[in-house]
């Protein structure tokens, strides 16, 4: 366990926080804000890349904050899983930032009479990035809660930007549901401390093994409920489609990409580290199946494309849960690969929807028509990630799904095979939902007759500036590179899954070092 690169770990959080402080202090000058945010996020991406390489070759990178040992202070651990999640989420946040800069200030508020809302976007986005990174690298359960609160507070502000009636209503729903899930998580931490006397993840994984199994199961259930609400697992997934679509396009994109995946990451970490071989894998499998099917049925029933995508987002969380619930190395590896794919493709799709909104004037599929002919570029930019999401080969969505199906078949139990059938059915229905939207909005299925000129409804058509197109094209390209580098990427996720199931590498890295001697 070399701590050669450990010094980089805290910088992952410090960079965005210092950035947030600076951008807030420089509230008036947007140019300064933009430079600071872009540098902070690019710095994070570079650091995360180096840490991914370091954790892959030299094992988890651990930083004991303030020199305090694991049983006292906070430990920041970057293993392959954490590094992978950080690098993908930072890349995605950078793309969203570039999109919002390209979109100009007016983009945030359709009704605003040209006056942009307060310059809070940059500091809040940086706090969001810091919060997300904190949850990924935290080696301490309470610090995971603080990370959750950071990204929640930032997401509250971003969701209610501009304070329009619709955003306030959607914001209220989102705020109360998130507050409730945080309260449940806090209660679970309190009870965990009550049961074991520590909140450090590494120590917990040892001590939870030694207390009464019934109590460990109780704590696991409470943690699962808290994370399931955040990851929008059925039956607690109703809030997501009501709140995400109302925010401005870049904000919805970063929400769709990151927030639910934080809940999924927390599940992966706690299920493998704290509760190995847990008795609740069947319960999770059933929840995964229901999330998939109910989510995709919701998507088919929608007219608005943003809501349809929010429902497919919820449905594909079921795929991730399927991989986690299997618990086998191949299942976990496929799940982690699918998480990386899911973050990229969902954010891309929502950014493209921002373009659709600018070109077609609305995202309601019944009022759009013939977009593929008006702007073929937007057509291509929508078609590739949409097919990727529906799991059409050769894209990364397909590769992740094949991994999950293989893990399910290898498991062999009737429930696993039922899940395999469910996941195949879900990807077919996703394809059906996407084809329906494609037919209506991009071709002109809404046009009744076979008129030569497909009528184009919808409001004004803004020309698509390069500032908005470039980040979207870049993100679609990232999605395609996921396909090309799928081989090595799957190797990393497999090695990560092996270490997760094994637990030793993590425990040795954190507990191996006794408290540092006096000052």
């Amino acid at each position: 366990m070399s701590d050669g690169y450990a010094w980089m770990v805290p910088l992952l959080v410090l960079l965005p926080l210092i950035g947030a402080g600076l951008t807030l202090a420089a509230a008036g000058r947007t140019a300064v804000q933009r430079v600071v945010s872009v540098t902070a996020l690019s710095g994070m991406t570079v650091l995360a890349g180096v840490l991914l390489w370091a954790s892959d070759t030299q094992g988890p990178q651990v930083m004991f904050v303030g020199g305090w040992a694991a049983n006292e202070g906070i430990v920041l651990v970057v293993d392959r899983l954490a590094a992978l999640m950080v690098i993908v989420s930072t890349v995605v946040t950078l793309a969203v930032l570039a999109y919002s800069i390209g979109q100009g200030a007016s983009g945030f508020d359709e009704e605003s009479d040209g006056h942009s809302p307060l310059p809070v976007f940059h500091p809040t986005l940086l706090v969001l990035a810091a919060g997300v990174t904190t949850t990924f690298i935290s080696g301490d359960l309470f610090h995971l809660y603080v990370g959750f609160e950071m990204l929640l507070a930032a997401s509250f502000v971003l969701l209610t930007l501009g304070g329009t009636a619709e955003r306030v209503r959607a914001g209220t729903t989102y705020v109360l549901v998130s507050l409730l899930s945080s309260i449940i998580f806090l209660a679970a931490i309190g009870l965990t401390y009550g049961a074991t006397g520590t909140i450090n993840l590494a120590l917990l994984s040892e001590r939870l093994g030694e207390i009464a199994p019934g109590t460990a199961a109780l704590l696991q259930l409470m943690l699962l409920v808290a994370f399931a609400v955040k990851a929008a697992v059925f039956p607690m997934s109703g809030w997501l489609p009501d709140s995400y679509p109302t925010a401005p396009a870049p904000v919805t994109a970063v929400f769709a990409g990151l927030l639910t995946k934080v809940g999924v990451y927390a599940m992966i970490r706690t299920q493998t580290l704290l509760f190995p071989g847990s008795p609740f894998s069947d319960l999770l499998l059933v929840a995964a199946l229901l999330t998939m099917v109910v989510g995709i049925l919701g998507a088919i029933a929608q007219d608005d494309i943003k809501r349809m995508l929010s429902f497919t987002l919820v449905s594909h969380i079921g795929f991730l849960l399927f991989g986690i619930a299997l618990g086998s190395t191949h299942g976990l590896a496929a799940a982690i690969f699918y998480v990386v794919h899911h973050i990229t493709v969902q954010t891309t799709l929502f950014l493209v929807l921002g373009l659709v909104e600018r070109v077609g004037g609305s995202t309601d599929s019944t009022r759009l028509g013939d977009l593929a002919r008006i702007s073929p570029l937007v057509g291509v930019l929508f078609f590739i990630p949409a097919m990727n999401m529906a799991g059409i080969p050769p894209f990364s969505g397909f590769l992740g799904k094949v991994g999950l199906v293989q893990a399910g078949v290898a498991e062999g139990s009737w429930l696993a095979l039922l899940l395999v059938a469910g996941s195949v059915l879900t990807s077919l229905l996703t394809l059906y939902a996407v084809a329906k939207v494609w037919g209506r909005a991009f071709w002109s299925e809404n046009a009744r007759g076979i008129t030569g000129q497909g009528p184009v409804r919808g409001g004004h058509h803004e020309a698509l500036g390069l500032g908005v197109l470039a980040p979207t094209v870049a993100l679609v390209a990232v999605g395609l590179t996921l396909t090309v580098v799928a081989g090595p990427l799957f190797d990393i996720t497999t090695r990560s899954a092996v270490d997760l199931v094994l637990r030793e590498p993590y425990l040795d890295a954190v507990l191996g070092v006794r408290a540092e001697a006096g000052p």
Partner: protein, 163 residues
């Protein structure tokens, strides 16, 4: 470790009443519920920190065993986070009142519309199964010359053709 019954009772009553208030439609009332549950959960930490003891200040205590300082620090952090969240929710309530003249949380319009459509069993503008099948059959018999077959009526027959 022995558990303090009074504190457990207080904590569960606080969480229970908080949950009751949390479910109300008025945002401020839900916030009250949130504050009650927050107090209750903070007490859980204190119950978890073991029996009461002297304040965790080295040298100042009355010699008895000190209370466990770690959960106290955690609760302190949680309290300040709750304060920040309360301020935000109140600002949201005020904005909600400014926009809607009351702080009742309305249903999501789009979900309600789909719920109404489900009640009325109206499947939207899609034609029935029979019409769709016939429409496609008619489509297959339509000549393509008008649409993407080459339409060079005016042009002389440059190919000359072998007619």
């Amino acid at each position: 470790m022995s558990v303090n019954l009074t504190l457990t009772l207080v904590a569960s009553v606080l969480v229970g009443t908080g949950a009751y208030l949390f479910l109300s439609r008025s945002l401020v009332r839900a916030l009250m519920g949130f504050l009650l549950m927050g107090n209750g959960v903070n007490l859980l930490f204190i119950i978890g920190s073991g029996p009461a003891g002297s304040p965790p200040i080295v040298g100042a205590g009355d010699g008895g065993p000190m209370a466990d300082p770690v959960p106290q620090a955690l609760v302190l952090t949680a309290i300040v986070i709750t304060l920040a969240m309360t301020a935000f929710v109140l600002a949201l309530a005020h904005r909600g009142w400014q926009v809607g003249r009351d702080d009742l949380v309305a249903d999501d319009t789009e979900s309600a519309r789909i719920h109404a459509r489900a009640e009325a069993d109206d499947l939207g503008s899609e034609p029935g199964a029979r019409e769709q099948a016939e429409e496609i059959a008619a489509e297959t018999e339509r000549s393509e010359r008008g649409h993407h077959g080459r339409r060079d009526d005016a042009a002389t027959d440059e190919e000359g053709g072998t007619a």
